[in-house]
């Protein structure tokens, strides 16, 4: 019996000591070395920032809210592009309130882009993303907005189309996954044409 008790005591002490040793290895040495290596990455391990005239206007990876008609719009977001509280809508596919919301989004798009047809609207433009911070829209999502942007900014449609093409990323290695348009970079490029004029 006493040997059993002693063994138990030994196991408990081993458990505590091993836990402490592993905390040093896994929670101090490992993450700090990665953080140090991260200083050599774009954005120095704090997330790559995008600046305009010396001011930070966003993070390269994070989508932001665009509602003005002279900008390309991003996807609907369940959290209003709150980068300190990411989330999706978590609406189920048959939820009637949700379907009403989607239908309203379609109407808004048609109102601001009167030349497009319903069948041209891609699903990503009327559904909320998983993170609420999706930086991308599909190519089709950008194409349906070209006429509106050109009209509001009084620039040639062809020029806007060129910008969309320039800001569309190809599939990974040209082979894997979808292509996508980065809305923030596209809008920055748009603003640049105006300031050049």
């Amino acid at each position: 019996m006493t040997t059993n008790k002693n063994k138990m005591k030994k196991y408990i002490i081993q458990s505590i000591r091993l836990t402490l040793v592993l905390i040093v290895l896994l929670c101090v040495l490992y993450p700090i070395s990665i953080a140090l290596a991260g200083r050599f990455s774009k954005g120095n391990g704090g997330g790559e920032k995008i600046t305009k005239n010396g001011k930070v206007i966003g993070y390269a990876l994070l989508g932001q809210s665009f509602t003005k008609p002279e900008y390309f719009w991003g996807r609907p977001s369940a959290v209003g592009y709150n980068a300190a509280g990411s989330a999706g809508s978590n609406k189920g596919p048959s939820n009637p309130d949700y379907l009403k919301e989607v239908s309203n989004r379609i109407d808004t798009l048609l109102k601001y882009n009167p030349t497009i047809k319903k069948a041209d609207i891609p699903a990503d433009m009327v559904t909320a993303s998983g993170s609420g911070l999706d930086p991308n829209i599909s190519e089709q999502g950008a194409i349906i907005q070209i006429k509106r942007i050109a009209a509001y900014r009084k620039i040639d449609e062809r020029k806007v189309t060129e910008l969309v093409v320039e800001n569309t990323s190809k599939p990974f290695l040209g082979l894997f996954g979808p292509s996508a348009v980065n809305v923030l970079k596209l809008n920055l490029a748009l603003d640049e044409i105006i300031s050049k004029k």
Binding site: M8, Y11, Q14, S15, I16, R17, L18, T19, L22, I23, L25, L26, Y30, P31, S33, I34, A35, G38, R39, S41, K42, G45, G47, I57, Y59, L61, Q64, S65, F66, T67, A84, G85, S86, A87, G88, K91, G92, P93, Y98, L99, V102, K118, A119, D120, I121, P122, V126, T127, A128, S129, G130, S131, D134, N136, P171, F172, L175, F176, P178, N187
Partner: protein, 572 residues
């Protein structure tokens, strides 16, 4: 062929290319044979010395379980108090509050159990200290616990008759030093150099192009995200998990994360075959599991790529598939692929919101977690599958009228009782848990609780029921994904799922290890003409049938009330 499909095919092939050699490597590591990572021996010796461990000391199956449970208890006590008082401890640059006791209970059980169900949100619910010193720490050690438990079972079938099943500490430490930590370093670096934050800087803010002030949560995320996948944990750094652009910046990182969460579960199966010197058995199990995964994945792809029929009626284009809750950079194909992997394996990380997937997709996700043995979690996947094997051996034995045998050991009443209890545990926890919550929701909706049950659900009708069923299923499977619309941070859900996670973790570890330990003590019966061969196609089919029948009988009614009912409603 379209690039989205090419993407998942390439991902799957790359997974196998990495996992199979990894399995062979692990078999050598656990057998103590020479491997190229032996240069890490001094590190291990140092760890043993500092912890007062003699790695040569042999343990029987009871001692293994004893130390496993003891060290897990130490982690529960440690983590619970740190989570509770994180607001008073350092490394909390965003000033996040301490957890309530029920939330701390749920969170600590969930992370110790490798489940990683999260009733808090990473941005607002934890500090940098708890992210790293509690949650990431547990992601390493809970995965290593699962692997070490599986290796006890492997050892039991390596020798003919034995009670010496190796040293728990040795396998546990080696799982970290030879597998989890090196792979995590590589993966964390890949993530960091593709945009995931890794530094300790606190929240940032900027003025957006349209003039809004935006706050940005950051922190040492890459380190945690690496082990979150490799260890099949799934608990994300940010609230939106791997849908968050920081947590999963590109299609490339998405491939890396999908591969990372699959390699160890597959490697463990291959390792089993090589370790017990019955390679064919390993490959047979791998075959059954892979067919199971494909049978869940193909209909998931069909259902997601078909889009939402209710939205199709509005006349817009769903050319690539359903997009609610998904990210454009991954697309519906890779998101559907991920949703199958993360539910068959007990990762539970998500790159798109499961609550918004199509009804049938939800059914496949649920079924994958109910089965919980196709690849399965780090180590525990093969333990769960072992229970199915024992049941299949027993039923086959009854069919031919002989005492059932498994790898040269008689399977008798005691072992079958344990296997039966473990088999019954899952439906008991899932169905009783769901029934209880549904009862509270319908009958006590206005109860004077801090959060009234009637406000729990984010979606009405059948889908609402699915939210509750999903939460209980995910807890029992130690999966950790959720139909996140469920309002789950309140005493009822925190306590009930905490209990389900705890039982759903430790009993399915104790059961198989005990069966293996008991079998290994018995006299070895050499193979004869009358021996049931467990590495044949016929027996593989038998196991598959057992898995399907057991799960269909247990769960069909619940699935019919939730996702299937929603599916048929939408057909109208």
């Amino acid at each position: 062929m379209n690039t989205e499909f090419l993407g998942i095919i390439a991902t799957f092939l790359l997974t196998l290319v990495i996992a199979i050699p990894l399995g062979k490597y692990l078999a050598k590591v656990f057998a103590g044979e020479k491997v190229w990572t032996d240069f890490l021996k001094p590190l291990e010796t140092g760890i043993y010395k500092l912890s007062g461990i003699n790695p040569k000391e042999q343990m029987n199956w009871k001692q293994h379980l004893k130390v496993l449970l003891l060290i897990n208890t130490v982690w529960i006590v440690y983590g619970f108090f740190v989570l509770l008082y994180q607001d008073k401890l350092p490394f909390n640059p965003d000033g996040n509050p301490g957890m309530t006791p029920d939330l701390a209970f749920n969170t600590i059980i969930s992370f110790v159990a490798n489940c990683n169900l999260q009733h808090y949100s990473g941005e607002t619910g934890v500090s940098y200290l708890t992210q790293q010193y509690v949650l990431m720490f547990l992601q390493f050690v809970s995965a290593a616990t699962g692997i070490a438990a599986a290796v006890v079972l492997f050892k039991a079938f390596r020798d003919k008759t034995t009670t010496n099943l190796g040293n728990f500490w040795e396998v546990f430490v080696k799982s970290i030093t030879r597998l989890l930590l090196p792979l995590s370093i590589v993966m964390a670096l890949i993530l960091t150099f593709n945009g995931t934050p890794a530094s300790y800087e606190g929240k940032d803010h900027f003025i957006s192009m349209q003039g809004d002030t935006v706050h940005v949560s950051r922190g040492p995320a890459a380190q945690l995200i690496a082990i979150k996948h490799l260890g099949t944990n799934g608990g994300g750094y940010f609230g939106a998990n791997s849908a968050h652009p920081f947590e999963n910046p590109s299609y490339f990182t998405n491939m890396v994360e999908m591969i990372a969460q699959t390699i160890i579960p597959i490697a463990m199966v291959i390792c089993f075959g090589y370790f017990i010197r019955r390679r064919k058995l390993g490959w047979t199990i791998f075959g059954v599991m892979t067919i199971g995964v494909l049978l869940l994945m193909i209909p998931t792809l069909t259902s997601e790529l078909g889009g939402n029929s209710a939205i199709a009626k509005m006349g817009i284009s769903q050319a690539t598939g359903a997009m609610e809750g998904k990210e454009v950079r991954f697309g519906p194909t890779a998101t559907a692929y991920w949703s199958t992997l993360t539910t068959v394996i007990s990762t539970g990380s998500v790159n798109g919101m499961h609550d918004s997937t199509m009804p049938l997709t939800g059914a496949w996700q649920l079924l994958a977690m109910m089965i919980n043995g196709f690849y399965g979690g780090c180590g525990v996947g093969i333990l769960n599958y072992f229970i199915y094997l024992i049941i299949a051996v027993f039923i086959s034995g009854l069919m031919v009228g002989r005492t059932p045998e498994f790898l040269g050991h008689k399977v008798e009443a005691r072992e079958i009782k344990i296997a039966a209890l473990i088999t019954l545990l899952s439906p008991f926890l899932i169905l009783v848990g769901t029934a209880l919550s549904a009862h509270l929701f319908t009958h006590y909706g206005n109860a004077a609780w801090a959060v009234q049950p009637k406000t729990w659900l984010n979606n009405p009708n059948f889908h609402g029921f699915s939210e509750m069923l999903y939460e209980m299923t995910s807890s029992n499977a130690n999966n950790g994904s959720g139909f996140e619309g469920l309002g789950d941070n309140n005493s009822f859900w925190n306590i009930s799922t905490g209990i389900v996670i705890f039982l759903g973790r430790f009993l399915p570890i104790i059961g198989p290890v005990a069966i293996a330990g008991l079998l290994a003590q018995k006299k070895y019966i050499p193979e004869s003409a009358g021996t049931l061969k467990v590495d044949t196609k016929t027996f593989a089919l038998m196991t598959f049938a057992v898995i399907i029948v057991l799960n269909a009988l247990s769960y069909f009614p619940a699935l019919a009330l939730g996702p299937l009912a929603e599916y048929f409603t939408m057909l109208k």
